[in-house]
C-alpha cells in the first residue's frame, strides 16, 4: 500500500468519526445543556439576541405633557397579565387579546369567558402583558400525543411541566383532555439528530426548533403581536405599557416554581423570548439579559410565587447547587431588582412558621407548590421575602455577596387579561375554572356539579376535591387559598416608560394587595430637623435622606431616623396602623433576627413603648352584610421614627407595612351575595395592606457594593 492510498484510507476512516463526533456535540449541547468546546460555539449564532424594532409611528397631540414632578408621583400598575397567547389561558376559555387587556387597564370593560363584564373602578397607570414565553402563541402543535414519550431521554427535562402553573383543572372534562394533550405536545419528541431542524436549532441556539411540535413562525408572530400591542397602547404622560413575558421555569426534581416576568424598557425587543426550553437555569436568563443590555436593550426580571417554590426561590445555593458567590449576587441583583411579593396565588411576605412573633404573618398563605399534581406542600423556608432579606445579610456576612437585596411590587397573574383587585368584585384568574363562586369553593356545590367536579378532578390527579362543612359540600381544589391581589406601585417623576422603569431599577416601589394605599418612606440621620407639617416635607426628605430601595450608610454611631407617610385608598377602608419591620444581623453572634414595630396608630392613639403595639382602634366588620365601622381609622398616618434598639455595627434593613382596618374577604362577599354564611374554615376578613421596598443600613461605608444598575442607583450619604 502506497503512501497516498494510506492517507485516503485514513481520511475515509476519519470522516465517519468526525460525523459521529459532531452529532455527539449536538446531542450533548442541545439535549443536556453541557458546555462544549468553544471552537464549536464560534459557529453558533444566538437567535435570542436578534433585536427587532417593534415601535409604532405615533405623535402625541398633547405635546406639552405635564411637567415631571421632582417629588415624584405614585403610579399604580400590573406587571403580570396573561392573555390568549398563554398556552394555559387559551384552553381555559380565555379569548382576550393583548389589545383587550390594555383596553381593560385603561378603563374599558371586557368580557369574562363566563359572559360577565370585568371593569376597573379606576383605570391603572401602567400595565404589561406577560404571556408564558415557552410555547407562546402555540396553542397546539404537531406533536404525536400517542407516543410514549416518557421513555425518551429528551423528554426528561420537560417532565416537570406536569407541575406547571395552573394545572388545577376542575371544570369541563373536555378542557382537561385538551389540556393534557397540550402537555403531551410540550413533551414532544425532538427531531432526529440528522434532521436539518436539529442542526439549525444548534446553530442558532434555539432549542425549540429541535422540537417536532414547534413552529417558529407562529411563535415569532405571537410575540410580535404582543410587542405591537404594547407599543400601540403606550401613551406617554397618561398610560405606560411594557413589552414583557413570563419565563416559566422550575427546578428539575421537586417542581419548585422559579417563574419570573421579564420586562423590557424599550419599543425594541429580542426577536423571541428566552424560555425554559432554552434553559431551566435562571442564571442563563440573566446572562441573556446581560447580553441584551450590551446591545442597548435593558430588562428586569421579577420572580413571583416564591411561596410555591418549595423553598427554592431564595435558596442559599445556586440552581446547580453551587455556592453563591459575589459574582452570582451581583448578576442576580443586576437583573432582578424586584420581587412580586403578592398576587392571586397568595402573598409571600412571610409565613407564621418563619415569623412566629408577627401577628400579621398569617395573611393569604398559599401552602402548595405552584401547579403541583397532586397538590403538594411547599416548604416555607426559602420561599418568603422577609427570610430572604435576612438570608441576604447572612450571605453578605460570609462574604458571598447579597443576592436578595430586592424591592417589592405586587401584581395579579390574571389569565383573563383583566386583573381582579377588589374583594367584592372578584373573578380569580383562570377563566372557566374559577370564574364562579361554586368552583372556587366559597359557596356549596349543587349535587350535580359536585359529581362532575369529583370525576374530573380524580382524572386530574386530585384524589380529594371536595370538603363537607356545615352548609354542604364545597369545592376544595386550592382556589380558596387564592385572593384579590395585588398592585405594583412606583414613585416616578412622570408616567412614561423611562421614568417608571428607572423607578423599578432603583427599587423605589411598593406593593399593595389591590388597594390603592400610598406610602412614602425615608431614612436618614437628620430627618428630625424636618417639620412634618411643612409643605416641603417630601422635597426636604429627598434632600436629607434616602428613600425606599436605597442604602443608608452609617454616620458614626448616629441612630437612623425614618419618616413614614401613608395615605389610604380614597375608595377603600381607613388605615389602622403603620409598622416598620426591621431585620438585622448581629455581628457578634452571626445570627439574623427580625422585629415588627408599630410606628403610627390611627385615631390619634399612641404606640405602647414596651410592646411596640397600637391599642385596638375598635374597627369591626359586620359579617352578615360586610359593612364596616364608620369614622374609625385614619385617612393618613405620618410619623418620624427612631430605631429604639439600634446597634450601629449591625447590618440591617427596614421596610414599612401599612394596614387597613379589616374588611370582608372575597370568599365572604361571594357567600353573602348568594345568601350563604361564609365558610367556617376560611378567614372571614382580611386587612388590605401595602409593603414598601426596604432601606438597608450599611454600617461600614467600604462595605457598599455598588451594583451598576444602568447608572440609576444613587448611593447617597445623608451628610
Amino acid at each position: 500500500m502506497n503512501f497516498k492510498s494510506k492517507k485516503l484510507l485514513y481520511l475515509l476512516f476519519l470522516l465517519p468519526v468526525l460525523y459521529v463526533a459532531q452529532l455527539l456535540i449536538i446531542d450533548i449541547d442541545v439535549n443536556k445543556k453541557r458546555p462544549i468546546l468553544n471552537i464549536f460555539k464560534l459557529m453558533q449564532d444566538d437567535s435570542a439576541l436578534e433585536i427587532v424594532d417593534f415601535s409604532v409611528d405615533k405623535k402625541t397631540v398633547n405635546s406639552n405633557l405635564p411637567k415631571p414632578n421632582k417629588d415624584r408621583n405614585p403610579y399604580y400598575g400590573d406587571l403580570h397579565v396573561h392573555t390568549k397567547y398563554s398556552f394555559d389561558a387559551y384552553v381555559f376559555g380565555i379569548t382576550a387579546s393583548p389589545d383587550d387587556a390594555y383596553r381593560y387597564a385603561k378603563g374599558d370593560g371586557i368580557l369574562h369567558p363566563l359572559g360577565y363584564e370585568m371593569k376597573l373602578r379606576e383605570p391603572l397607570d401602567f400595565y404589561s402583558v406577560t404571556d408564558h414565553g415557552f410555547y407562546m402563541g402555540m396553542i397546539q402543535a404537531f406533536a404525536d400525543t400517542t407516543t410514549d414519550i416518557s421513555k425518551k431521554d429528551f423528554a426528561k427535562p420537560f417532565h416537570d411541566l406536569n407541575r406547571k402553573d395552573n394545572l388545577t383543572v376542575e371544570s369541563a372534562g373536555e378542557r382537561s383532555d385538551l389540556f393534557s394533550s397540550i402537555i403531551g405536545a410540550v413533551i414532544a419528541e425532538p427531531h432526529p439528530n440528522w434532521h436539518p431542524s436539529m442542526i439549525k436549532a444548534w446553530l442558532t441556539k434555539n432549542t425549540q426548533q429541535a422540537l417536532k411540535s414547534f413552529d417558529y413562525d407562529i411563535h415569532k408572530s405571537a410575540w410580535a403581536d404582543i410587542a405591537r400591542s404594547a407599543n400601540e397602547h403606550n401613551d406617554p404622560g397618561k398610560f405606560t405599557t411594557f413589552i414583557g413575558y413570563e419565563f416559566t421555569t422550575s427546578t428539575d426534581i421537586e417542581g419548585g416554581n422559579l417563574h419570573r416576568n421579564v420586562i423590557f424598557n424599550s419599543s425594541e425587543a429580542s426577536i423571541r423570548p428566552w424560555t425554559r426550553i432554552d434553559s431551566l437555569n435562571p442564571e442563563d436568563l440573566w446572562t441573556w439579559q446581560d447580553s441584551l443590555r450590551e446591545k442597548g436593550i435593558d430588562t428586569v426580571s421579577i420572580p413571583h410565587n416564591s411561596n410555591g417554590s418549595n423553598g427554592q426561590m431564595f435558596e442559599m445555593e445556586s440552581f446547580l447547587g453551587r455556592a453563591i458567590d459575589q459574582g452570582y449576587s451581583d448578576k442576580r441583583m443586576r437583573n432582578e431588582p424586584l420581587v412580586e411579593v403578592t398576587q392571586v396565588k397568595g402573598t409571600s411576605e412571610t409565613h407564621p412558621l418563619l415569623s412566629p412573633d408577627d401577628d400579621w404573618a398569617d395573611f393569604e398563605i398559599m401552602d402548595v407548590r405552584v401547579g403541583s399534581r397532586p397538590p403538594t406542600y411547599s416548604r416555607p423556608s426559602g420561599g418568603y421575602v422577609r427570610e430572604a432579606y435576612l438570608n441576604g445579610l447572612t450571605l453578605e456576612f460570609t462574604q458571598q455577596g447579597n443576592p436578595y437585596k430586592f424591592g417589592l411590587i405586587g401584581s395579579t397573574d390574571t389569565h383573563t387579561g383583566a386583573g381582579a383587585f377588589d374583594e367584592f368584585n372578584y373573578w380569580s384568574k383562570v377563566g372557566l375554572l374559577d370564574g364562579d363562586a361554586e368552583n372556587r369553593g366559597s359557596v356549596p356545590l349543587a349535587p350535580e356539579n359536585r359529581e362532575r367536579l369529583e370525576e374530573y378532578m380524580a382524572a386530574f390527579n386530585q384524589p380529594q376535591s371536595t370538603i363537607t362543612l356545615e352548609q354542604g359540600d364545597y369545592a376544595n381544589t386550592g382556589f380558596t387559598q387564592w385572593g384579590a391581589s395585588g398592585l405594583a406601585v412606583v414613585w416616578a417623576e412622570e408616567n412614561t416608560r423611562d421614568s417608571i422603569f428607572k423607578a423599578f431599577k432603583r427599587k423605589e416601589t411598593f406593593a399593595t394587595t389591590g388597594s390603592r394605599i400610598a406610602v412614602r418612606f425615608f431614612g436618614g440621620f437628620n430627618l428630625s430637623s424636618i417639620d412634618l407639617n411643612s409643605d416641603n416635607l417630601v422635597s426636604e426628605s429627598y434632600e436629607k435622606g434616602v428613600t425606599m430601595g436605597g442604602d443608608l450608610i452609617s454616620d458614626g454611631d448616629k441612630t437612623p431616623e425614618f419618616i413614614v407617610w401613608a395615605q389610604k385608598d380614597k375608595n377603600g377602608a381607613s388605615l389602622q396602623r403603620v409598622q416598620i419591620i426591621k431585620g438585622w444581623m448581629d455581628t457578634t453572634s452571626g445570627r439574623p433576627s427580625e422585629k415588627v414595630y408599630d410606628v403610627a396608630c390611627s385615631d390619634g392613639l399612641d404606640v405602647d413603648p414596651v410592646t411596640h403595639r397600637c391599642p385596638d382602634n375598635g374597627a369591626r366588620v359586620n359579617i352578615t352584610d360586610c359593612s364596616i365601622s364608620q369614622n374609625v381609622g385614619s385617612s393618613e398616618l405620618k410619623t418620624l421614627w427612631r430605631d429604639p434598639e439600634f446597634k450601629s455595627s449591625d447590618k440591617s434593613f427596614y421596610y414599612v407595612r401599612v394596614l387597613e382596618n379589616p374588611t370582608c374577604r372575597w370568599s365572604t362577599w361571594d357567600a353573602i351575595k348568594r345568601g350563604f354564611k361564609p365558610r367556617e374554615d376560611l378567614h372571614d376578613t382580611i386587612q388590605e395592606r401595602a409593603w414598601s421596598s426596604p432601606i438597608w443600613y450599611i454600617p461600614d461605608p467600604s462595605d457598599v457594593v455598588v451594583v451598576p444598575l444602568g447608572g440609576t442607583v444613587p448611593i447617597r450619604n445623608s451628610n
Binding site: K59, N64, P74, A141, T145, W194, K200, E232, S635
Partner: protein, 263 residues
C-alpha cells in the same frame, strides 16, 4: 344461482377497475420548486458559511421529500380529521392570515369617517392648573377650611400638607378624580379663576382651591392626531377581520344541534 354469482363477479371487476382508474389519477408526483431548494440552501450557507456539498444538498432535499411523503400518506389515511390539534392550528392560521391580509392603505374618506365616528375618543380634556389648601379630616377640617376662606388677608397658615402635594399643573378631570376621589373634578367645572373657592370634601378631608388657569377641552384636527387614528383604525380592522370573515361565509353553513340535549 350461477347467474347471480356472475353478476357479483362482474360488479367486483368493475370496482377493481374503478379503483385502479382512480388511483392512477391520484397525483403521486412531488414537486419541489427551485425557490424552495434555493432558500433552504441559502439558509444553510448563511449558518455554516460555506457551500453545501452535493451530499448535503441531497440530504436536505431527501428530508423534504420524506416529510412530504409522510404527510400525504397521513392525509390519505384521514389522520387529520377530528384531530383537535390540527383543527385549532388551522383555525389559528386562517386567523393570522385574515388579520394580515388587511389593507394598510385606507381611503381618505374611510379615515375621515372613522375619525368622525370616534371624535369623542380623541377629545383633549379640560385642563386645570390650581393650588389648594388641605385640611385633614383628623381635626374639624370643615371648620378650619371655612376659617381659611373667611380670612380676608389669606395669611392663615392652619392647613395641613397634602400627600400628593399642593400644586397641580394642567390636570384633567380624570386625574383630579383619581387624586381626590370620584366627582371631585365637578367642583372645578365652571368655577371662577384666581380666587379661593371651597371648602370641598374629599375622602381625606376638606380642600380650598385656587384655580389659576383653565384650558378648555377641544376636538383636535385630524391632521394633528393622524398617526393615532391610523393605529386605532388598523386595530379595529384587525379585530373585525375574523368576525367579518365568519359573517361572510357563515351564511353558507347550517348548524345542527340535538334539540333534546339536556345541559
Amino acid at each position: 344461482m350461477k347467474n347471480k354469482l356472475f353478476i357479483f363477479f362482474i360488479i367486483g371487476i368493475c370496482i377493481y377497475l374503478i379503483d385502479i382508474g382512480l388511483n392512477s389519477n391520484e397525483d403521486k408526483n412531488i414537486y419541489i420548486s427551485d425557490q424552495e431548494i434555493l432558500s433552504l440552501v441559502n439558509a444553510w450557507k448563511s449558518q455554516v458559511g460555506r457551500e453545501p456539498t452535493d451530499d448535503e444538498i441531497s440530504r436536505i432535499i431527501n428530508n423534504l421529500v420524506q416529510e412530504e411523503i409522510l404527510y400525504r400518506e397521513a392525509l390519505s389515511l384521514g389522520l387529520e380529521r377530528e384531530d383537535k390539534i390540527i383543527k385549532r392550528r388551522l383555525a389559528q392560521k386562517i386567523t393570522f392570515l385574515k388579520q394580515e391580509s388587511i389593507l394598510k392603505d385606507f381611503s381618505q374618506k374611510e379615515i375621515t369617517d372613522f375619525y368622525n365616528a370616534n371624535r369623542d375618543k380623541y377629545y383633549v380634556p379640560d385642563l386645570y392648573t390650581f393650588t389648594h389648601k388641605f385640611f385633614s379630616s383628623t381635626s374639624n377640617s370643615k371648620e378650619r377650611a371655612q376659617n381659611h376662606l373667611n380670612n380676608s388677608n389669606r395669611s392663615y397658615e392652619g392647613s395641613d400638607p397634602f400627600f400628593l402635594g399642593k400644586n397641580f399643573a394642567e390636570t384633567s378631570s380624570l386625574e383630579i378624580n383619581s387624586n381626590f376621589g370620584s366627582n371631585f373634578s365637578l367642583y372645578l367645572k365652571n368655577s371662577p379663576i384666581n380666587q379661593w373657592i371651597g371648602p370641598y370634601k374629599s375622602s381625606f378631608g376638606h380642600h380650598n382651591l385656587y384655580i389659576t388657569e383653565y384650558t378648555p377641552g377641544f376636538h383636535p384636527n385630524l391632521d394633528d392626531i393622524y398617526d393615532q387614528v391610523m393605529v386605532d383604525l388598523n386595530q379595529l380592522k384587525r379585530d373585525s377581520a375574523i368576525s367579518d370573515f365568519i359573517k361572510e361565509v357563515g351564511s353558507e353553513y347550517s348548524v345542527i344541534i340535538n334539540p333534546d340535549l339536556k345541559i
